[in-house]
């Protein structure tokens, strides 16, 4: 790499680390680090303490799950990825490096090297989280295996985004020049999809008798699936090696696969340069609109602005204005093409299943699963992805603080914004799942009470997790990503998993009192009706438990409001 770029890389990393360390002078950061360090240290060195993800990686099924996750990650990058290059350059890099006499390849190398910092951090997190779970390798071998996986996935994501960028900006010519990777990927995704659909009745039958693992394992070794999944399997194999000889035999091909990505990424650098030039032109037309000009605006200034889908009345509670602003902002960032692909994809899968099984009940059962999976993902991962709240607005703290509202009112409005968005999405999936379940005679739970409980539980759970997320942004603005930019790609998943884990732990703690309340109320209902009502007894318990949660949140938000009013701006930006 160019010496100046190496200097920039090393000194930026050094100064960043110094900044992070200096934060530890603040008691709250120090306490958090000590608590986190104690937990993860115990996890790493105490072999009796179970890993939070233990069990997920055992045996051949573990390998299959990892292979599937990597395949889905790669495929979703191609299908849903951005049409802009994954090589993100900061404003300073654009202004100082692009006019400098540096080759395109050296810029790519610089970015790849820079990403290694994130990859290495993720490796550390994953090594700790996957400490056990069927892996018998020493710690450093697991670290190298994970490094190869994450680095390959990063390079692949960059390569895929460059192909997409080229195709999007050059139309047919762009598609032609990238025909080989596009054809390979489209064919692979289609074949995998079709094979799974064909095998669905058998898999479902196996699931009914508790042999789903074997069914999936058999499916993955059948042709043509085995051939398509081979490169993904190749990457995962070193992680599951039983001996160092086996590991050595597995790591070499995985390493070759990673190395093969490098020339692919640098070969497409012509498209990268054009895309970056486009981005620079966009920036010239549209300077940063927030004070946090360190991040480029994510909005395409030339795109027609969709109309607000609900009007804001001029009078009423002012906090509603903040909810309106955030919901509007979120809906404007939604990519309709992604939604269209999802709807079409679900339609295609549904039709394919129907042609295979020819049974509406079977189709309904598959539909339930197709709704339940994203619903579950939205509950767990949604608060990390939908960020139309303080995580977005905190960069404009000056503006927020100048509003004639209490700190707690602003915090509550910000949390309510994302809660409303997430709940609306979940309700949509819940409605479809409930409808489908009513056609499924083998539905796993009674449909009506489950749906009624979910109606109350989903917004309640969202409010808790989002209070945790917003509280983290307020208390630790130096650690939480603020603004539109969020770390993307599996290489940054270590950080995301860490955040999710912390959030889950705090959510669990917050759920203890309402769960006790719900259990007591349900028992009282059973006692009153003089017969066990099963899940029905939790229907009246759910809103009462939700009230208990509201009480908890009210106290927490009052406290966060005081933190908001006193947050040190220096943690977010230097004092003026």
């Amino acid at each position: 790499m160019n010496g100046a770029l190496g200097y920039l890389l090393v000194h930026s990393a050094k100064n960043r680390l110094r900044g992070q360390i200096s934060r530890l002078r603040r008691p709250r950061y120090l306490l958090a680090v000590l608590a986190g360090g104690a937990y993860f240290g115990t996890l790493l060195f105490n072999s009796r303490m179970p890993s939070p993800l233990a069990g997920s990686t055992s045996s051949a099924l573990g390998q299959l799950i990892y292979t599937a996750i990597i395949f889905v990650t790669v495929a979703s990058g191609w299908i849903f990825g951005s049409d802009r290059p994954a090589l993100v350059f900061s404003e300073a890099e654009v202004q100082l490096l692009f006019p400098a006499p540096l080759s395109r390849a050296s810029l790519v190398r610089y970015k790849v090297a820079q990403a290694q910092l994130v990859v290495l951090f993720s490796v550390i997190i994953w090594v700790i989280l996957l400490r056990r779970g069927g892996m018998t390798l020493p710690f450093w071998m697991r670290a190298i295996s994970l490094w190869v996986i994450l680095s390959t996935l990063y390079l692949h994501r960059v390569g895929a985004s460059l192909v997409r960028t080229s195709a999007a900006s050059h139309g047919a010519r762009g598609v032609r020049s990238n025909l080989v990777p596009i054809v390979i990927v489209v064919a692979a995704i289609a074949v995998v999809g079709w094979t799974i659909v064909r095998a669905m009745p058998g898999v479902r039958a196996a699931m009914m008798v508790g042999e789903s693992g074997d069914a999936f394992a058999k499916l993955s070794t059948s042709q043509p699936l085995a051939t398509i999944l081979y490169p993904f399997h190749l990457l995962v194999t070193p992680l599951f090696a039983d001996s160092w000889r086996q590991w050595l035999r597995a790591i070499v091909p995985a390493f070759v696969l990673m190395a093969a990505h490098y020339p692919w990424v640098t070969r497409t650098d012509a498209a990268f340069e054009e895309a970056v030039a486009d981005a620079a032109a966009r920036r010239a037309r549209a300077a940063a609109s927030t004070r946090g000009a360190r991040r480029r605006p994510m909005v395409d200034a030339e795109r027609a602005v969709p109309r607000a889908w609900f009007a804001l009345a001029p009078m009423g509670h002012p906090a509603v204005a903040i909810v309106w602003k955030n919901v509007l902002a979120y809906t404007r960032t939604l990519r309709l093409t992604t939604l269209a692909i999802l709807v079409v994809g679900v339609g295609v899968i549904g039709s394919a299943v129907y042609t295979q099984v020819g049974d509406w009940h079977e189709l309904a059962a598959v539909g339930e699963i197709l709704c339940a999976i994203p619903l579950g993902m939205l509950v767990v991962l949604g608060p990390g992805f939908v960020r139309a709240d303080l995580r977005q607005d905190l960069l404009q703290l000056d503006q927020l603080r100048s509003y004639p509202l209490r700190g707690s009112t602003i915090v509550a409005a910000e949390i309510a914004s994302t809660t409303a968005i997430l709940t609306a999405m979940q309700y949509l999936l819940l409605a479809v799942a409930t409808l489908l379940a009513s056609y499924d005679p083998n539905a796993p739970v009674p449909v009506a009470p489950a749906a009624l409980i979910a109606l109350v539980a989903l917004p309640t759970l969202n409010a808790i997790t989002l209070t945790v997320a917003n509280g983290a942004a307020l208390l630790f603005p130096g650690w939480v990503r603020l603004g539109d930019g969020r770390a993307a790609g599996i290489e940054a998943m270590g950080q995301n998993v860490l955040a999710i884990l912390v959030s889950l732990i705090l959510t669990m703690v917050a759920l203890v009192p309402p769960l006790i309340v719900a259990t007591v109320v349900a028992s009282m209902v059973d006692a009153w009706t003089k017969q066990p009502m099963g899940i029905w007894s939790f229907v009246p318990a759910a809103p009462i438990a939700a009230l208990a949660v509201l009480g908890e949140l009210w106290l927490v938000i009052k406290w966060l409001g005081r933190v908001f009013a006193r947050t040190d701006l220096a943690q977010i930006e230097p004092p003026g």
Binding site: R285, A287, S289, A301, E302, P314, P318, A329, L569
Partner: protein
């Protein structure tokens, strides 16, 4: 009106503003001038309730910004040097949003005239990313003016504006002051300060060097008589430096 009493703001071991006191009456335009790092922005942010002062009191129309922040903030507008806008709201939506926040019942009727005044009517459906630096500045100012504040805090309000925009902005500020607003204007443009401000507050390293009308400041320092504002400003900075060197300020 704006009342500031003994305002002090300390960051760690650095004192950004030191025992600052002043009063701005309705219709008055106070020019806040000083070199970079003098504490001008910190002063404005403290008055706006964005920064919590280390000590001292600030009140807007009699409402203390610390004890009655909502009432005080409802009557003031702070327009920062770098306009802060929401990137997913259009120009008009910004104004509707601000109207609701500040409870401006006739906001829909006020928006169009304000957009005309700020020459933003054609851009009413544009997102901030599609606006030039000057237009974004005008939008920030429009947001600040919508609720007809009685205290107006402006930090470098002419940044990014073209000559015609500057002239229009000066006229807007003057007309708001004539309508009874107490204005505090921070700027490095001494010509603007001279043209608009009825009084000056000269700051250096967080403390007051001079406060009063131009004539009063010069009258206290006969050696400055006959000098232009720029020369007076530089002489005051020298005076401050000498005071610091002599250890006049602890």
């Amino acid at each position: 009106m704006i009342d500031v009493e003994n305002l002090t703001k300390v960051y760690g071991d650095f004192t950004a503003v030191r025992a600052l006191s002043f009063h701005v009456a309705p219709g008055e335009v106070l020019g806040l001038v000083g070199p970079n790092g003098a504490g001008k922005t910190t002063t404005l942010r403290s008055i706006a309730g964005i920064i919590v002062p280390t000590s001292g009191t600030i009140s807007i129309d009699g409402d203390d910004i610390a004890t009655a922040p909502e009432r005080a903030k409802a009557r003031l507008a702070f327009i920062p040097d770098e306009p802060q806008l929401f990137e997913h709201l259009t120009v008009e939506e910004h104004l509707r949003f601000i109207g609701r926040l500040y409870g401006v019942s006739n906001a829909p009727a006020l928006i169009e005239p304000l957009l005309i005044e700020m020459e933003l009517l054609e851009k009413r459906n544009a997102l901030p990313a599609a606006l030039s630096r000057g237009m974004r500045q005008k939008l920030a100012i429009a947001c600040g003016l919508l609720h007809t504040p009685s205290a107006l805090l402006l930090d470098e309000p002419l940044t990014g504006l073209d000559p015609a925009g500057m002239r229009r902005m000066k006229s807007t500020i003057a007309s708001r002051a004539r309508a009874g607003a107490a204005v505090v204007l921070s700027s490095h443009l001494l010509q603007l300060v001279e043209e608009l401000c009825t009084r000056l507050l000269v700051m250096q390293r967080g403390r007051v060097i001079a406060l009063g009308t131009f004539a009063e400041i010069v009258a206290e320092r006969p050696q400055l008589a006959g000098m232009a504002l720029e020369d007076v400003f530089l002489a005051l900075m020298d005076e401050g430096e000498r005071g610091d060197r002599a250890g006049a300020v602890p």
